[in-house]
């Protein structure tokens, strides 16, 4: 049985209410943390090796230590709950069923960072969750865990839930800050980074929901203990939201030591692919990360077993690997068409581009139009090279990472599934009636013997 930290009490009925949560050891970490100094909490988080769960995987403790602390200027903690990445829904689960765990994490982090006003920027489409969170905030307040002079320490903290209006771009931290300030959600130019000038030009830390919730077990068990879970620099547990062609879609907590194969086929997790179909491809970390074919998903290019952690999933770089990303595990079986899938993603990024900088604004629409032609049998062979050229010129040349996020899926699809694209060009009529199928995408890869 794998270790569970965040979803430890998942089976307990009523865990979303304060009394039940408190009875099951809730707010123990907060009590412990308020006896520590803020610097010690940051130190514990640093020791734990916790990495940002939002997608980039930046060490949280390091991010916290970058926070500028000028005299007389308020600091803010902002929680990024604008979970809009296609395929990712782990934060939703956490906020909906474990609001107090999340609030406790927010409280401890606010204390560590000295934030008296903490904001939760929640995705607009999660229309019912703000009520759950606000109810939890009121309960916590009534029991003295929020508001003025918390636990007699003299520390004041208010948590405000702010609803977004349905823009993917507002999940980018500076666009989120702009939106929170009431402006158009356009990403800011960096530097200055939010740690220096964030919300209302005050020092700000923006963290993902899961990251902040993970602070609770870190304080409970201590940073060193937490760091023992997992492997290498992938410490602790990670929530994965699994969807696509699998038997048991849902949210799973893993400790980053299980292999991709075990995760995909064991009954404890995904439970294999339904209807006896075969695995064709997988996007292991949310729609923005590169798609990998079956043969590269289960084993790395070196022939080693691939594990569900940051390092192993990105082994081989973008040439033969992918990324852990935000943990949106999307599985495609042999009945799926990669061209169509790529087109759908391109349409999404075209729709969600903020329109601020030219490569992303113009390039995403161009890619979508070309992919639409390819999918509907009107493509040309040169279109594939053109797509490659467009994504190459978008990647890295934009203000925010959305440009990269739009370019990577297209690049990876062409890199690994080029023959499927070519088949669409060469068989315009057949491609409208059937899919390319599994082809050789699950065949074992020849690994040259190393010296």
């Amino acid at each position: 049985m794998a270790i569970k930290l965040l979803l430890e009490n998942d089976h307990i009925e009523g865990i979303r209410y304060f009394d039940t949560y408190r009875k099951n050891g809730g707010y123990r970490a907060a009590e412990k943390a308020f006896k520590m100094s803020p610097a010690d909490i940051v130190e514990e988080v640093k020791k734990s090796g916790l990495r940002g769960r939002g997608g980039a995987g930046f060490p949280t403790g390091m991010k916290w230590s970058f926070l500028a602390k000028p005299e007389g200027v308020p600091r803010h903690l902002v929680c990024n709950a604008d979970e809009s990445e296609p395929g990712t829904f782990k934060d939703r689960y956490l906020m909906e069923f474990h609001p107090h765990l999340f609030i406790e994490g927010l409280l401890i982090s606010s204390f560590a960072l000295g934030s008296n006003a903490t904001y939760v920027y929640i995705r607009g489409e999660y229309a019912w969750i703000p009520e759950i969170l606000e109810q939890a905030i009121i309960e916590a307040k009534n029991n003295g865990f929020l508001g003025k002079n918390i636990l007699g320490t003299g520390f004041d903290c208010e948590i405000y839930v702010h609803r977004g209006a349905g823009a993917y771009i507002c999940g980018e931290e500076t666009a989120l800050i702009e939106s929170l300030e009431g402006k158009r959600g356009n990403p800011r130019m960096k530097p200055p980074f939010p740690a220096i000038q964030g919300v209302w030009m005050r020092p700000t830390v923006v963290n993902n929901v899961e990251t902040l919730a993970a602070v609770v077990p870190i304080i409970n068990m201590g940073g060193d203990e937490y760091a023992k879970i997992g492997v290498g620099k992938s410490t602790g547990t990670k929530l994965l939201s699994v969807c696509g062609n699998i038997n048991k879609p849902g949210v799973y907590e893993i400790d980053m030591t299980c292999s991709v194969e075990e995760f995909l086929y064991s009954d404890e997790y995904c439970g294999g692919i339904p209807k006896g179909r075969k695995l064709k491809a997988c996007i292991p970390g949310g729609s923005s990360v590169p798609i990998v074919p079956a043969n590269l998903l289960l084993k790395t290019a070196k022939g080693e077993t691939r594990y569900m952690n940051y390092e192993s999933l990105s082994d081989g770089g973008f040439v033969s690997g992918s990324m852990m990303g935000s943990g949106g595990f999307i599985v495609l079986d042999d009945a799926q068409c990669v061209v169509r899938h790529t087109m759908t993603l391109a349409r999404f990024y075209n729709h969600e581009s903020c329109g601020q900088c030219s490569p992303c604004r113009e390039g995403t629409g161009w890619m979508y139009k070309i992919l639409k032609n390819l999918e509907y049998g009107k493509g040309k062979m040169s279109d594939i090279d053109l797509l490659w050229d467009i994504q190459r010129r978008i990647e890295g040349n934009t203000i925010c990472p959305l440009g990269d996020a739009a370019a990577w899926p297209v690049a990876a699809a062409i890199r690994h599934f080029r023959d499927e694209f070519e088949w669409h060009v060469l068989n315009p009529e057949e491609s409208q009636t059937r899919n390319y199928g599994l082809a050789h995408y699950a065949d074992p890869i020849h690994v040259p013997a190393s010296a």
Binding site: A167, I169, R184, M189, N350, H351, E352, S353, C354, G355, Q356, C357, S358, P359, R361, E362, G363, T364, G365, W366, K369, L386, D389, I390, R392, R393, G396, N397, T398, I399
Partner: protein
């Protein structure tokens, strides 16, 4: 004066010392010539502008003296400040040249090819940019995006289809006028500049959005379709205006004032903002005191032979030498072969049609 340390920065192998806090683009402008990256959205007079068009991307091959690591991505030179000992590659970096080609292609993707009927033609930044940095053809085969035409009042014509979303007019409207009536609607490739609630823009200085617009999206309605800019003659003039500096540029044909704009410097940026009254209503030479012909870049189509005081002359061979490390490629250096066409003689200073004698006298005089 407070002590600002000077930072040494090297751009395309040319070193310059600039005060700390200067952006790479401004440092490059101090050097001038070809090492200056083009800028479509950055405007030194507008706070917060820049970073959006990505045409000014440069490669930082050495971060600073303290931290010599190169920057992983190309950076927007208009928003990146220099560090001491920084080394920047602009036209010497193939990566930058390639990325810029891509950016120009992106900018032109949905831009209409209506230059023949566009009032901006001839003084259009996008025309210059695509001529200097773009490809000869586009690979875009789809229908271009268009917008419904919107009437924003009697003086300014908004042609949204031509817009490249530089945000300059939004900043200008916000920073020059008291009320904000000008903003952006929608997002992505359907984002558009608009006035809130279709209000006419009646602010004192709103006419300046015409001058800051790099393309023909915002043009002067009082000049619409009256003339091509290269047929009109720009002269600098001033008037005793109480609202603005009164320093303007008149675009004449004969004695008739076709258009009034603000004066622009060699980077195409307005020197002094002018008010709507000067711009739209003082359309007679009687309203103005003419100072003399404007300085127009030699490369501009507006400078078709009839102006003196060209600025931004062709870069000297020495500069090119330093940059690319070899002799500039020249098909035929007319000046060295022929003694007839003397570049220092301004045709405008010769009375009547030029005659070979005009050149002879100078040539002989110079030799003696």
């Amino acid at each position: 004066m407070s002590e600002t340390p000077n930072f040494k920065v090297t751009i395309d192998n040319i070193s310059i010392e600039v005060p700390a806090g200067t952006t790479i683009l401004n440092a490059a402008r101090m050097i001038g010539g070809e090492v200056t990256p083009p800028a479509m959205c950055y405007y030194s007079k507008l706070k917060d502008s820049g970073g959006k068009c990505r045409t000014c991307l440069v490669e930082v091959s050495k971060g600073s003296e303290k931290d010599p690591r190169p920057m992983p991505k190309l950076v927007a030179s208009c928003r990146t400040t220099v560090m001491d000992g920084m080394e920047v590659k602009n036209i010497t970096s193939p990566k930058v040249v390639d990325a810029r080609k891509g950016i120009v292609e992106f900018l032109l993707l949905n831009h209409p090819l209506d230059c023949p009927v566009c009032d901006q033609a001839g003084e259009c930044d996008l025309q210059n940019l695509s001529y200097e940095h773009g490809n000869e053809a586009t690979r875009y085969e789809f229908k271009r995006r268009t917008f419904e035409k919107e009437d924003i009042g009697p003086y300014i014509s908004l042609h949204m289809t031509r817009c490249i979303m530089c945000f300059r007019c939004v900043f200008a409207a916000e920073q020059l006028t008291e009320k904000r009536e000008h903003g952006i609607l929608e997002r992505g490739d359907h984002a558009q500049i608009s006035t809130m609630l279709h209000k006419a823009l009646d602010n004192e200085f709103i006419g300046n959005v015409i001058d800051v617009c790099p393309v023909g999206a915002l043009t002067d309605k009082t000049f619409r379709f009256k003339n091509r800019v290269w047929f009109t003659k720009p002269v600098d003039a001033h008037c005793s205006c109480t609202k603005c500096s009164g320093k303007a540029r008149l675009w004449l044909r004969g004695e008739e004032v076709y258009r009034v704009t603000a004066r622009k410097d060699q980077w195409g940026e307005v020197e002094d903002w002018i008010c709507n009254d000067c711009r739209f209503h003082k359309k007679s030479t009687k309203d103005w005191v003419i100072e003399g012909p404007s300085k127009i870049a030699r490369s501009s189509v507006i400078a078709q032979g009839h102006y003196e005081g060209n600025v931004g002359t062709a870069p000297t061979p020495i500069l090119i030498d330093k940059v690319i490390g070899k002799q500039p490629k020249m098909l035929l250096d007319i000046h060295s072969i022929s003694d007839v066409n003397k570049p220092e003689i301004h045709l405008s200073k010769i009375d009547g049609p030029a005659h070979s004698d005009d050149f002879n006298s100078v040539t002989k005089g110079a030799k003696k």
